[in-house]
């Protein structure tokens, strides 16, 4: 048996992906929050799903909100880091926006649980989640900065506020997964291209894809 780490001994064998009890708790909570709802899930039920005592869970997370916060933070950490990198990069803005949308879409499609569905929880508007909201707002602002540079290159005049749509388009993956119960098959090719087209962009998509791949290899 793997070392159960701090807290009381485990009731049984590890049954979830994750190399640490913390990762197992997060995985179980993500499943229960997305499938049964956040308010409907007690920390007791999360502990049961991992096969540990509630006291052991409290060793890792003092409250249910702390578990939710950790899960949410994970959903924006990598896209946010990549967006900051891409803003500093030289190169065409369209390829940079495509690279960001592509990475973010792939992550939203391939994550084990559809955690983005929790973004609309009323609980997230409380002060407890302000630091998460700030980080997600930063990601949204970075998308908008890249989009403005694409707009500056283009000749088409589009409606005001359009720079916020690429971010919103990427997050539609969450709704597709929720409605279809599966990752949207076409999204990884579809969404990054659509993120450019809403900006009135019309160019050689194959060339942008090649340039975006080169950027991704360098930055990640």
């Amino acid at each position: 048996m793997v070392n159960p780490g701090p807290g009381r001994p485990r009731l049984e064998q590890r049954r979830r992906p994750g190399t640490t009890p913390r990762a197992e708790i997060l995985d179980a909570a993500a499943e229960l929050f997305t499938n049964n709802g956040y308010a409907n899930t007690s920390t007791r039920r999360v502990a049961d799903a991992v096969g540990i005592r509630q006291a052991s869970l409290y060793h890792h997370f003092a409250t249910k909100d702390d578990i939710l916060d950790a899960l949410l933070a994970d959903t924006v950490a990598e896209p946010l880091a990549l967006s900051a990198e891409l803003l500093k990069e030289a190169g065409d803005a369209d390829a940079r926006l495509y690279a960001l949308a592509s990475f973010d879409t792939a992550q939203l499609c391939s994550s084990r649980w559809n955690l983005g569905a929790l973004y609309l929880l009323p609980e997230l508007r409380t002060e407890r989640f302000e630091s998460f909201r700030v980080r997600r707002d930063e990601l949204r602002a970075n998308y908008a900065s890249l989009a403005r540079r694409v707009l500056a290159q283009g000749q088409v005049s589009v409606a005001a506020g359009v720079e916020y749509l690429p971010f919103r388009l990427v997050e539609t993956v969450i709704n597709m997964r929720s409605d279809d119960g599966a990752s949207p098959e076409h999204a990884p090719r579809l969404i990054p291209e659509a993120a450019l087209r809403v900006l009135g962009w019309s160019g050689d998509i194959a060339a942008v894809q090649t340039a975006a791949r080169r950027l991704s290899d360098r930055t990640y």
Copy 2:
């Protein structure tokens, strides 16, 4: 005092918009479900917010799920009826898709409560809400039918599955309202145009807007 309708007498004066007790219950429930969460809201609390006894509430709605179902049905009824009308109409597909997206966006922006935020509730995946899901799927399919006609007119080759994006774009209004705590100012002009641009459409937007307005006047 207005006749309170069936059930026990009202505890106090009407305090919500709505000309019937049923409408007041729906308004109070919409506020509580969107601000405090569905699982966190009891029918008792809804009755209190209306100023009626719980027994009177049960006269109108047997269960909390029945209240939710009525609220959700309202969100799709008019766009669904309009989409069916527009599919039968003659005229350019771009103007018809613009007219649908425009009506739907305006409704999502102007509704008193951001009810679309409830679409991601895990409760909606249960059998109780199948008929709502079927109707929302019909709306999505009608959007896709109109989008395919726009694509058929165009010369641009876009990614597979793109016909589902106009519907998804319109629903991003829900996320904007949830994040900003207010209706997105630019959405009514922005979203319908973006619904065309994701399809690779590039044309005279002013002409499409005029044609769409003419269609809306005729169909609604």
